[in-house]
Symmetry: C2
Subunit: 550 residues, 2 copies
């Protein structure tokens, strides 16, 4: 791992430990990227890869020039409409084929899911650097990482690095939530260098244009901001068009009122003007703009609950009904749609969110922020929310917006971004396992076999975070021989349950004792043999013992 120092900004480049970057051809010289984990037994496992060219040592990274315009070369397959239009017309686009290969499914499955509105491929015609990906419950659960600068806390350089860093660890999309002075330029740098879809919340930039006064917003200012962002190549946009004037009072008795920035901005505007939200009244015009670029709607949940007490209340579900209405309008314009979800929800109220979303919004992909399963652990909200995220993804949520340890307390730094992404990859993968996604368990099995065989290098390489796994191991057993030793620091060599277990397996295999019947019938007289066998295997070492297990 090093940094590309010759560039105006330094970003993290180089392969992930134990892996190489490979490309699987799908014709026309286009390769779908994979992270290939090389195992010590000569085998390898290819994993879904979100990191773009940055993990490819052969790639020439030049942030000023931006990434290669991958999709430009697909001109034979270029489609000027939306992915939704194509899918409905029975056309399999290059983007669909690319997604299918990444997911390991037939392209026709991708087309069908997009046509039904159950999946989206956020891919602005002008974001040519994009490696397309698909969001839908039939596919692997995705993770979004929020980044974005502010006037005082971060530079453009840092935000580009945060994007590279987040995608290195598995972020499938990023949202640029920048505010402050350099909002347009920051987004331009991110877009030209981002291999993943970039989402925004245009109301933030619109608000900057009126010096931060929500009541001074107008449809025209908002519309021009959306067009500006579409032209740059933003792939999906959060639009809080479901915050209607009549819903605002429903929040008055809440414990935590309105916690969405977009939601509170629109609520303030509606109350101040006593008029219906311009996002709602101009929604069809907005559809026509997004359609031209194939920008995907992410219909925002401006009235999402900000506390356990407010979960699943009337304000939240009233807005969700309106989002269902807007979903149908957007799709009638050929615009792809996903729906944002909560927030803070206790476990027993999580599934109801998915059920209602699917019912009201025609199964449009659900994209949730956590939800946090309790309010009482600030500084650990990546964990409180990973619990809710895993459960809501199991129930059918297609993409999870990460939460970092700094949630509610401060701005995430680089370490927080990594912790947030890894934590959410855990939640997403746990859900893929629970949904019995075809290839999900391959990685668990490969890692568990490596663990049982004491192949430490393979365990690290197969991990979500090989660097930290190795670092933790090396705290107690740093020497290189310990990486192939048939024990670890928890038990030491004498008590190792894994070794006793391996002996059991070997002994059973050698004596045909692979069933309860066989052992009942055939064990007599063989006991002494086993005793002798294991006394040869175990060394009389007594150097390390364990406390971690029971």
């Amino acid at each position: 791992m090093s940094t590309a120092g010759s560039n105006p900004a330094s970003v993290t480049v180089g392969p992930i430990a134990g892996s190489t970057k490979e490309y699987i051809e799908f014709g026309d010289g286009i390769g779908v990227p994979v992270r290939r984990v090389h195992l010590t037994d000569g085998e390898h496992l290819d994993l879904y890869d979100t990191s773009g060219p940055y993990t490819d040592p052969e790639a020439d990274i030049d942030l000023r020039a931006g990434l290669p315009r991958l999709r430009e070369s697909w001109s034979a397959d270029r489609w000027d409409g939306t992915q939704l239009d194509a899918a409905r017309a029975g056309i399999i686009t290059a983007e669909m084929r690319y997604c299918a290969l990444r997911e390991g499914v037939a392209a026709e499955v991708v087309r069908e899911e997009v046509a039904a509105g159950r999946a989206v491929i956020p891919a602005n015609h002008r974001h040519l650097e994009l490696e397309p990906m698909i969001i839908g419950k039939a596919f692997a659960v995705k993770v979004n990482a929020n980044i974005g600068n502010s006037a005082v806390t971060s530079s453009i350089d840092e935000e580009v690095e945060k994007m590279v860093w987040a995608t290195r660890w598995g972020a499938d999309t990023i949202m640029d939530l920048s505010t402050g002075k350099n909002i347009h330029d920051t987004r331009e740098w991110i877009l030209r260098n981002s291999p993943v879809p970039v989402g925004t919340v245009p109301i933030y930039q619109a608000l900057e244009k009126v010096n931060g006064d929500p009541t001074a917003l107008t449809w025209e200012i908002y519309r021009d901001t959306v067009i500006e962002q579409c032209e740059q190549g933003v792939d999906y946009m959060t639009v809080h068009a479901g915050v209607l004037l009549r819903y605002v009072p429903l929040t008055a008795q809440r414990v935590t009122g309105i916690v969405s920035r977009g939601g509170s901005i629109m609520a303030a505007w509606c109350l101040a003007h006593h008029r219906e939200s311009f996002l709602y009244t101009h929604f069809e015009e907005l559809c026509e703009i997004l359609r031209r670029y194939d920008v995907t709607f992410s219909l925002g949940d401006g009235l999402r609950p900000g506390s356990i007490a407010d979960a699943n209340d009337e304000a939240q579900f009233a807005e969700l009904r309106t989002l269902g209405e807007l979903t149908r309008i957007a799709k009638s314009h050929g615009v792809q749609v996903m729906i944002e979800g909560p927030g803070h929800v206790p476990m027993h109220k999580i599934v109801e969110n998915v059920r209602l979303e699917e019912e009201l919004c025609e199964e449009a992909p659900f994209y949730t922020l956590g939800p946090l399963a309790t309010d009482i652990a600030p500084a650990y909200d990546h964990i409180t929310s990973a619990i809710g995220a895993a459960m809501i993804a199991q129930a059918g949520t297609a993409m999870l917006c990460y939460v970092t340890p700094k949630e509610h307390l401060g701005l995430p730094n680089r370490d927080d971004v990594k912790t947030g992404v890894i934590t959410y990859k855990i939640a997403a993968h746990a859900a893929d396992l629970a949904k019995q996604h075809p290839r999900a368990q391959e990685r668990d099995d490969a890692l568990s076999r490596a663990r049982f065989d004491f192949r430490w290098h393979d365990q690290f390489a197969l991990s979500l975070d090989p660097d930290t796994a190795r670092e933790f191991h090396d705290e107690t057993l740093p020497a290189e021989p310990a990486k192939s030793a048939h024990f670890c620091s928890m038990c030491g060599p004498k008590f190792c349950s894994m070794r006793i277990s391996a002996d059991v397996r070997q002994y059973a295999a050698e004596h045909g004792l692979d069933s309860a019947e066989a052992i009942e019938a055939g064990m007599a007289g063989k006991a002494a043999e086993f005793t002798e066998a294991r006394s040869r295997v175990y060394l009389p070492l007594d150097s390390l013992t364990r406390t971690a297990d029971r």
Copy 2:
């Protein structure tokens, strides 16, 4: 927070930030401890407290003398049988009353649950320093922390501090899994200074007595070890009596074989001698020993799955059926029983574990290790397992055994112990909320109200970890006035959704707009008023903006 330097070992003493230690009287001069959180509005909230006298500045902590023998003074109420016997006889013991007050329920509820075998009160007659607690699905979900020394990695001093440290952050019980030379003395120091129940796995010490050779174990050596530990005051013991000879071959085809140390020791013994486990054949004698001290069985799951691939397999459930049989035997001897559970289980297979355990083991309290919802995140297994733990607790598990970030990689240090405990308090509390445990949401609501009102000190004080919450906040806004400022570093003062929301509430209250009907009817003409009101409220500051939200 300081350390008691005059003692042979230094342990962490002093109140948790923002709280004081208080005692609620229940007669006879006995006080049940609470952590009283003092809020800036003059109110307070009392929380369940596991930390013992160490957080009481008035307490005289002398590790050589041990904690005061709290239960000795309850002589009028002393009961020589087991809590199970008493409960069945309709007797409410002092321990039951103590537990009832801690849980906020009627003592009769405690008695009924114990009598039914659905709850246990692990309280060895000889552990007089204990502050009794109850484990059962009708009560708050509990958390166990594993500690224990080894020959090279830790001293007795460190283990006593780990116990104090773990209970400071909320561990309800601790298990001393010490191995190596000083196993008896280490346990003595821990027991004499522990306010929470102490569990052990006696087979570990028995194995030390035969120099680590499982095949050299005998019933007599094991029995004497159990008696030695009963005499010292151990409150509950893990016994892997369900690992039967005929089950061992069922593990031969597993991905990760037998991962429980106790399970693998007994499997090796059974195979080597080709005889049934002495733990099983002598189980009734064992019951008679434990009964004399009222030591609770924690029937170990020696064949628990060590990987996603092995979850819910025949080996695991065959053992569970035997644990059901042993549960009935133990209860017929008046011995309290809980049942240990997995391990590694994908989310969709979690609930089945609880259902089967309850069916086969007469709803004896379930005590699970995680389970980890995926195998692919070594270094983050506190998180992979917190997801499984929250779900299995929601389904009815009574106590969760923590997992630290070092699981599978090395020995947990002090920081890992804290991270493990806090993470598991999150899982336990999330489950309490989902089960709608009567008092659980009080704390969430109090913290969320504090968050909405920008009472930062109260947010910290109500947190599971006030120190880290404050530290994270202070990274961006360290100055004291920021603790009462009506904004935070994520948005800064200009964009704060919480403030807009508070304005909405105030405006609605002032104008009777607390319903959708009211706003439809009455808002006309009031828009300008609101605009003016909020322009007075907001300051034209532009110093900080957010990236954390959308």
